[in-house]
Symmetry: C2
């Protein structure tokens, strides 16, 4: 079997690249900037130029590379097409085909970034040893990836695992970025919890250590909640209640073995998973009440680990 | 390849049995009663006795049977164990192992009945030609089955596709049979829609053609709604809104190609799928707004068709 795997985690700001052995050992990793100008036309050529340079430097021929896996911040359909990616400026793009051509025919496999991160956590992280899992990524938005029998659930329209846009509050009057109202992302992302706090602080007579603080960040709210600030605790409870609700639904749809919580917000520590678990267990169907809810382990490496794993799982035998 | 497949649809009142060719043609079907006394201890021996008699009569030897598929009204885990089935009086049961032993070693494959019916519709019914689908069965309760890449999604705890217990109304004060509150089943089953109508009729001053009618059934409400009865139309709208909401969530979790609506309630005609679709499309995420919502085709044969298909899809090559 060919000895190397290339892993690429394509983000809106940087592209993370990893060189793995075919056994899945990470040998080295690098970052290059994501050039989004001209509708993202430079992105794949930049990646290809970097990878070709890397292979030259390491004296690895393309024939020694099994494949390249790529995580992409947009929906990917079962055929491997990126359905469009506002963040990169892309419309519908055959990213796998284009990149493979730029890389002398190295087979390329693409997946949605949240699904790829979930695959990484299932392989080497908190989901290790589990066949199915959901990973919810609490960052600027709320991403979700579902793994079943070791494969990413892309869905027929690339919306598999798009749990950030589950309508958790049909009574909401403010709009989500997607144009709908009451999406999980409006409450459970870093941006969402800041919005919850700002709204609570704006109520006349609100009392909080955060009153008057400028440029509020999610971390401030978790820190204040941990130190006993009731207003901040209320925001954390709202976030946990709505996440617990959404995850209780997931367990009645695909019923995963384990729930992994990652992303910047999860760095606030056990307060995040504990609050989610409290509401999840209180409202879940009996058969799935005890599904473990754990914090992700791989941090920023989840993407490249999952991209390497994508090659291992999707490569035709 | 062995020429015959046995299909068994095990219900709380009757067991439907079908004899299929290995190509999937239904040759003949029969029904026997389900004896639930003594904690359902007679059920599998009764089925085995019937099947043995049938094979004798048809002069088919057990060696000519590829396998038997069984749909069971309870959760089935990935290992093929029935996790318990209140309806039959069963606790955790290795139904496949027991029945196989009673049938001279014919391989037996079991699945949750809603999942098996979904597999039937995907194979020969409204989902034909689609790789993934969800089937929601609106009967006494609300059942759900999800098919992905041609296989039933059982889930890690046998709760895959248990969409009748999705919490669609966290504000509900009345309890569902499962002990929780606000489950989809409380509004979208035959029982649920009757309850909605009875509650609306009990409001002082309620005006409806159904006022004073005894032993209300779901059909009465749909008939009244079609003839312009506003109170009944309101009940149908509530049912459709909550089903549309739940299905919009499914499309952001497993994102199926098509949604199939079956069960007794679906016999009311296009009013059911039209009302569901109206709300589904209004509230769905852009990528999944156009997922087709269609009525099931196979009726009572969905179970035996799916059970036969289960043998074809799960039999190790």
């Amino acid at each position: 079997m060919k000895p190397y795997i290339i892993a690429i985690d394509l983000g809106g700001t940087t592209v993370k690249n990893g060189l793995f052995t075919k056994e899945g050992e990470l040998l080295e990793k690098w970052e290059i900037p994501t050039r989004r100008e001209e509708k993202g036309a430079h992105i794949l050529p930049d990646i290809a130029a970097f990878v070709r340079g890397l292979l030259r430097e390491k004296q690895i021929s393309p024939e020694e590379v099994q494949g390249a896996g790529v995580g992409i911040p947009g929906p990917v359909d079962e055929g491997g097409y990126v359905k469009g990616c506002a963040n990169l400026g892309w419309g519908r793009t055959n990213a796998a085909g284009i990149l493979s051509e730029l890389l002398s025919g190295i087979p390329v496999f693409v997946g949605n970034d949240a699904g790829v991160a979930a695959l990484g956590e299932q392989w080497k992280g908190s989901g290790s040893g589990h066949d199915s899992l959901v990973m919810v990524t609490l960052g600027t938005g709320v991403g979700g990836g579902i793994i079943e029998k070791g494969h990413i659930v892309n869905g027929a329209h690339g919306a598999g695992g798009e749990i950030g846009h589950l309508t958790v509050n049909p009574e909401e009057t403010k709009s989500c970025g997607c144009g709908r109202k009451g999406c999980l992302e409006q409450y459970a992302s870093a941006t969402g919890i800041v919005r919850l706090a700002e709204e609570a602080l704006a109520v006349p007579g609100a009392v909080s250590v955060l009153s008057g603080k400028k440029d509020l960040e999610a971390k401030d709210i978790f820190d204040a909640a941990k130190s006993g600030d009731a207003l901040s605790q209320g925001c954390v409870e709202t976030m946990g209640r709505l996440l617990g609700r959404a995850l209780s639904w997931l367990s009645l749809v695909s019923d995963q073995e384990i729930i992994v919580v990652g992303g910047g917000v999860s760095k606030a520590g056990p307060i995040v998973t504990d609050t989610i678990a409290k509401y999840y267990r209180a409202m879940s169907f009996y058969a799935v009440k005890e599904t473990p809810i754990v914090t992700a382990k791989l941090g920023n490496d989840a993407g490249i680990c999952g991209a390497a794993r994508l090659v291992m799982t999707e490569m035709p035998a």
